[in-house]
Symmetry: C2
Subunit: 484 residues, 2 copies
Amino acid sequence: MSDHITTTSAKKPLILNGFAMTVPGHVSAGVWRHPSDQSQNYTKLSYWTGLAELLDKGGFDNLFIADALGPLDVYGGSPDAALRSAAQQPLNDPLVLVAAMAGVTKRLGFGVTVSTSYEQPYLLARKFSTLDHLTKGRVAWNVVTSILESAARNLGHDAQMEHDERYERAQEFVDVCFKLWEGSWEEDALVRDRASGLYSRPEKVHPIHHHGSYFSVPDAHLSAPSPQRTPLIFQAGTSPRGREFAAQNAEVVFLGGTNPAQMRASVEAIRARAVELGRDPQSLKFITAILAIPAATEAEARAKEADYLAHTSIEAALALFSAWTGVDWAQYDLDQPLEYIETNAGRSALRGLTAKDAGRRWTVRDIAEYIGLGGIHPKFVGTGAQIADQMEALAEEAGVDGFNIAYAVSPGSFEDFITYVVPELRARGRLTPEGAGQTLRGRLLGHDRLGPDHPGAGFRALWDGPSVLDQDYRAASAPERLKA
Amino acid sequence: MSDHITTTSAKKPLILNGFAMTVPGHVSAGVWRHPSDQSQNYTKLSYWTGLAELLDKGGFDNLFIADALGPLDVYGGSPDAALRSAAQQPLNDPLVLVAAMAGVTKRLGFGVTVSTSYEQPYLLARKFSTLDHLTKGRVAWNVVTSILESAARNLGHDAQMEHDERYERAQEFVDVCFKLWEGSWEEDALVRDRASGLYSRPEKVHPIHHHGSYFSVPDAHLSAPSPQRTPLIFQAGTSPRGREFAAQNAEVVFLGGTNPAQMRASVEAIRARAVELGRDPQSLKFITAILAIPAATEAEARAKEADYLAHTSIEAALALFSAWTGVDWAQYDLDQPLEYIETNAGRSALRGLTAKDAGRRWTVRDIAEYIGLGGIHPKFVGTGAQIADQMEALAEEAGVDGFNIAYAVSPGSFEDFITYVVPELRARGRLTPEGAGQTLRGRLLGHDRLGPDHPGAGFRALWDGPSVLDQDYRAASAPERLKA
């Protein structure tokens, strides 16, 4: 059992994820133009094995890889701006990349974003089992439902599913996966005895008999159990339905934004809902993202920040912001002041973009410049000690357990973080201790498998013969299924 | 231009693929029980990186990875026998494995089996582009349509699509992929200029406007062009509709079976049909599979064969044979003599199982014992010279250009092949010459990209503005689309 769980002191380790995407650049719009950026090499194996080695040796817990499934074409109603400025375009597949990094790393986890909206759970479960085998239990799945209309359009839908329906499908999708991972192969199903010729015990490999609204998966899991069985479950998305999904399924929740009070409210709401669903509230961890620009002195860090800022692109920033908000920002004058942003997700007051900036009057240009470096995430600039202070303060204020560390340039920003910030965090007892666990879940949560309070663990009941879990899936709503 | 294409002498190089599957064992039923077999380690990264390194250094061109998408449950109407005897069960995903092997190899290609029946072309195209980038052009796609009812059942279909309809869907699937790979990004679309901030030229990245019977993909490819653009296209399946598909799409056709005369007939029929479709008949290569058991002397090789035979499993063999034929062989007495096999694909005379055995009277047990070692493929046992003789003779008689080399034990069978047979083949000028090309297609066909006569290359016309290819896909049948 690691300190993560039992210690309530302020000095518990912070989860450290490298935050990346299989694109040139990532959240820092246009900064691929900087002479030191190598993220253009995202198509090369050596770029990723180098990055993974760096993070693994540098004290990071995990590489968190974002994804999207369509062109970014809200800005100006076309993908042109995103293509011109490389705003997360072009875009490769993250899942087929992971195995390449497993061989050059010892403890680093790999958290891969895969949407439940366009895959089949029977096949995706096999993909994650395969990667969990190959990495010896170091894989996480960032479960998303996709926000892009452009993805739906290219994947067989005239328009994307309505928001809450996407989550209904997502819930059934992960339930099928949990059944395959947790409820299909018993612990002693695999024998592999050369003498008798018995490889698996059929009576211990259970068909899951799933017949739901979206999926029908009658048979057993194709893959034998992997070290974690279920990959560590990440989740991002804080709509009311997203919070419900997180409370039920997530082990690590990724909260975006810049407002610590809002984050804390999300943390508390999700934990409270998890308790209602029978989960240990401390079994859910929360992370948020930051951009860190550290250097030997604050002045050097500020100079570095200015240098990166000079390489940002307003066009790239607005292409990203348009995709994230669903608003075409090309229709506004750059100097137009804004009171609020009306998006698909409702009205957001701009005054609250950062706590420090409360009361500031934002123009479209201000937003683009803010997003240009580090996206919508807080930017910490200074010495290693200053940044460690800010991280500790944000973790305390927002109630989060760790961070996705975004970059301005890659791998330079990670090298700087490892040089200046990691030693500070280590000295403060903020790094996951050596030997904290062989699997990713073991390191972060103290146990290799889904905790017994996790709803997915309930599907282990399939081993014990027919139960309510084995009945017609459609007959029970999710909370009823959980309580039965 | 390699000798492959221009030389018509008998001494042209033979394509050499390692033949494997992400399972314990593979085509040799039950031989995972042999003390030297390590294929049980198929879940481990080191098993695959070791195998890939061995083949890469040992003169092989490619690792061909088979796949299936469901339990093997025809035999006895349940998956029990396949689970007990590890007849290609349990089963991991091959596509997410490939990147791990790229870093430890220099020239080896990776041919991965993926069915068109349960994936989305917009996403699968991105997966192959990503792997083609990471491997620097060493990826092949073995296009299959899936034969298992058990796959359909777990992937959202009450029963699988009718055979010819599977191929209709497959044709539209690969056409969408060809449009994305060949017709979307022009050669000079990618600029990546740090000074001007121009990454891609939007006017050179073309939406494919695909609206067909099965798929609607209006937008451009998400990934930038990879070294081969289109992965080398393998195809297996010799039904009439399968041959049509091969003639139109395949660059390397995998022919199963044991009868050279039947293989030659397939080769000639597919080449003839390719000519009608406007293709250079020599641009299609053909391979078949063999099991080779070489040793320093013929006596040692025979002893080795007997040792492997002692580890085969009749249950595993019949579980495999039942899945392949769609016939439940559990219903027959093992000693029942058989005249023919009535399968989904029609009646097969057993007399013709091997040319040598013409006239032999087969029982169910005979079939199981034959299949136990090397599956339905010819078995060559002897010294390196004897096996090289047999390979040359079969290539000549069947008109094929190379082989999938199956194993009894892995990696032992490959080590033996490299020790005893490869030097013979090299001495006879039968290995692909060093420096024959950086990409897999370059090495095997002499050019890195799809040849201009390949129908997929026709979709490059999208670059030149609207054309018949850009019109309503449903309006034209495949041959009309090609000729227009």
